[in-house]
Symmetry: C2
Subunit: 251 residues, 2 copies
Amino acid sequence: MHGKIMAAPPAPAHPYYPLGVEIPHYVANTAPVPVLMISLGGMLGGVLLAACVLARRWNPNLTRAQLAVLCWFVLCGSLHCFFEGYFVFNHTTVASSQNLFAQLWKEYALSDSRYLTSDPFMLSVESITVFIWGPLCLLCAVTTAAKSSPLRHPLRIVACMAHLYGVALYYSTSLVETYFTGRAHSRPEPLYFWGYYVGFNFPWVVVPAFLLYDSVTTITTAIRSLDGVKAGLEGFQMRNGAARQADKKAQ
Amino acid sequence: MHGKIMAAPPAPAHPYYPLGVEIPHYVANTAPVPVLMISLGGMLGGVLLAACVLARRWNPNLTRAQLAVLCWFVLCGSLHCFFEGYFVFNHTTVASSQNLFAQLWKEYALSDSRYLTSDPFMLSVESITVFIWGPLCLLCAVTTAAKSSPLRHPLRIVACMAHLYGVALYYSTSLVETYFTGRAHSRPEPLYFWGYYVGFNFPWVVVPAFLLYDSVTTITTAIRSLDGVKAGLEGFQMRNGAARQADKKAQ
């Protein structure tokens, strides 16, 4: 009898960190991880293929580099509007649901339990991502596919800045909390911390940094060329004016 | 004796919300609010005046609108690097300090106690603001004062996006937490919530939105003009080529 009173505390009802975090109504996933990954990959692959076919029909002159940028923004727009949109609208029931998106979020949350605890920062950043950055990325895809669009590069800078600042805050909020309080939201296994948490988000550091640099360079080159053209025209007008005055004097 | 045992819980040792939030070593401000405000205002006014004088010496053709934009970015850069820099380096001791910046932060924290609790989101967003957006704003001020700078508008888009996304998350994280958990970080008096929390941050919604729109419009106009010049040149070359071929045939 006494031995039973001293029994160890019950094992946690879920695999998430920090130990003791409350995740009500959690139900373990039923689908294996490869099935979840292949399902998401297949859906995204289909969307990207369709986007490429449509874009090539609309503008047959699209280069491979332009198609790659288009695919990036279609990928971002799809993930933001649909996958992250599912989270924003269902964050209180993800832990207890078994549809594809819920199971994907439960697997990913092994690296960041904030997705299962209605964390205020995650809800804020994801809501802005779903309602503003998602549509903006799709608009970036459209202006990339268009034959000519002066909005292409300014919009890209805005979208890339949203991704860079968003991912910087996503990484830093969790790391700062771990540093100051010792609470980590990721399971300690390298697969979850390095693979899921760092790895899955790292493309949103590298690609936006590259595209941002490219767009800033393109715009500065364009403005410099235009300044050159204007200076040339002004010089031409001045020379022309001087020549006319000389003609008048000669008359 | 029994009456003493049933005494009410001790009054909170500080005026911050949510009630019961822990703010160790808090010491009440010694300076009155108008003195704090006038001191900060005076320092910022001096910096802006010096910036205007220097900028006009460097580039006497600066218009009033350009000087206003310059002042905005110098104001942002100064607040980010120094005032917010003080918070990032001293967030654990602000509550117990009595220098000007600490007293200003303690007054402002009546509208947002996260500045006195080493909140991970505040530390993340403020660190990025101090080390990246602060210097970027000063660079925006320099490119605004320069006679010609093709980097001016791309950099402005980056800085304005940083401000807009930052303030959106600053507002939303706190409001989402209040909505889902009932915990408010602001005292309930309108002066603190509407005056300090909403009011003092609102310029970082309005001005960046205006400057972002202006820079995107300027860039799209420039790219459209350049496209026009290129199309004109191509047309000229084609006509020229056709005329030469006609000449050759005629010969």
